[in-house]
């Protein structure tokens, strides 16, 4: 037990030191700003976790959990008070991405894309109860019409929010993971090597 705790502590310290700290802050700010790009390009996706995914790949799962949680807290202060209640979702996103990135998922597009779809399914499963019980399925996310459609079909709030998540989240996270793969693939080796989880992008034999 002591060893497990010590390894957690070492892991957290490794992921939240040096170059990681400003990059975690950047990841959090990127999550909050990318909705603007989606809006400018009129894309029907949220793209609100790309910063968390990048931090998870380059710094690790703990750092990603911090980035996501900070982003949602700031979202609550600035423009969307309910976003703080979706912190469990970003914890799952950060942790899952950090874990799959360790297995080299972000080295190839054909592994990143399905991982994004799985991530979307997980995010939908975690968000659905929060959205259903706290906000009755309405979060003004742009996909609320789907919740309304399913409810009009006679489905419960929980099932409606889950079905809405199943339709929207896998696509959103697949695009997010692919975008993260494109970004990390183009990063110069000399910069990536400074991050604690550089081996997620370039195998150690490189």
């Amino acid at each position: 037990m002591k060893n497990v705790l010590e390894s957690f502590r070492t892991s957290i310290r490794k992921e939240t030191s040096g170059v990681s700290i400003p990059f975690i802050a950047f990841g959090a700010a990127l999550n909050l700003s990318l909705g603007q790009i989606a809006g400018l390009l009129k894309l029907p996706v949220y793209l609100d976790s790309i910063g968390t995914v990048l931090v998870a790949v380059l710094c690790g799962p703990w750092a990603a959990v911090i980035a996501g949680s900070v982003a949602n807290t700031i979202g609550s202060i600035t423009f969307s008070p309910p976003s703080v209640f979706f912190i469990p979702t970003v914890i799952v996103i950060g942790a899952f991405t950090g874990i799959v990135a360790r297995h080299g998922v972000f080295r190839k597009w054909y592994t990143a894309l399905p991982a994004g779809v799985i991530q979307g399914l997980l995010a939908a499963a975690v968000s659905a109860p929060i959205s259903a019980y706290l906000f009755s399925g309405i979060t003004l996310s742009g996909m609320d019409f789907l919740v309304m459609f399913f409810r009009a079909e006679g489905k419960s709030i929980l099932l409606s929010t889950f079905l809405q998540g199943l339709i929207a989240d896998p696509l959103d996270k697949a695009i997010t993971y692919t975008a993260a793969w494109v970004i990390v693939r183009q990063l110069p080796h000399r910069i990536v090597i400074r991050f604690p989880r550089y081996e997620n992008v370039f195998p150690s034999s490189d």
Binding site: I21, I24, A25, A28, I37, S76, T78, P81, I138, R151
Partner: protein, 257 residues
């Protein structure tokens, strides 16, 4: 340092410590889930009075009307119009509405309003640097506090940068108005310059932070000295005890059932 212009004050009241406000916010959010409608109405009234008393009341109500009220109205409307589990109907202002849906919608809307008002009251009346100092003095990690403060600054910078990159790439011929596939492709020429420009900045900033001893252990001094008064300490304790008692009581009720 004077802080009265930022903190929850009214004429004659002294500034309230950020941590007392944090405890109050967490307590109200937790309680509005556990207590019944009467208690929720009481909390909502208390929050409204506090909001009116603050100097930042305009900002709080503006944000509430802009970001929260549309959700509250939608939640109510959705439940009134399509509540699948009930067939009971009542007449309200000449409209035929679903009775169970109306009551459920009212409860959810009230809870949402209380939570949002409480969060807005806290965040609008508490400047981030004072909250940061308060949690640092209680032993929070300086790294996480830095991340929080730096992200807040970066949000505005990044939004400005995104606007510039969008205009620059569009003027270079990037197709930003084509079919969905082309628009997804246009995402990358916008994202890459944004991420690359900050990566090199991250390296420099990370080094600077280490040189300034961000992760160093031992006693620290603060630019702003925040002191908790006796009343605030008692209030914190009462809020913690009160909320914990309600949580335990509800847990016991649930177990007995």
């Amino acid at each position: 340092m004077r802080m009265s212009s930022h903190l929850l004050t009214s004429k004659g009241m002294r500034p309230v410590h950020p941590l007392t406000k944090l405890y109050f916010t967490v307590s109200t959010v937790v309680l509005c889930f556990l207590l019944d409608v009467t208690a929720q109405v009481f909390i909502a009234c208390l929050l409204l009075i506090l909001c009116v008393l603050t100097r930042q009341r305009r900002s709080i109500f503006k944000r509430f009307l802009r970001y929260v009220l549309p959700v509250v109205i939608l939640v109510l409307l959705l439940n009134v119009l399509i509540y699948p589990e009930s067939e009971k109907w009542i007449s309200l202002f000449g409209f035929r509405v679903n009775e169970v849906g109306f009551h459920f919608g009212l409860i959810v809307s009230l809870r949402l309003s209380v939570m949002s008002l409480s969060l807005l009251l806290f965040f609008v009346t508490t400047p981030p640097h004072l909250l940061a100092t308060a949690v640092l003095m209680k032993g929070a990690s300086p790294r996480i506090v830095f991340v929080f403060l730096h992200s807040l600054q970066l949000v505005t910078t990044l939004r400005r940068k995104i606007g510039k990159i969008f205009i620059a790439q569009a003027s270079r011929g990037l197709d930003v108005k084509g079919n969905p596939f082309k628009r997804v492709k246009a995402l990358f020429p916008m994202l890459l310059p944004l991420v690359f420009s900050y990566l090199s900045e991250s390296l420099e900033r990370g080094l600077a932070l280490e040189l300034r001893g961000l992760g160093i252990h031992g006693p620290k001094s603060y630019l702003v000295e925040l002191k908790e008064s006796g009343t605030e300490r008692v209030a914190n304790l009462l809020l913690l005890l009160g909320t914990s008692t309600v949580i335990l009581w509800k847990l016991l009720q649930w177990l007995i059932r």
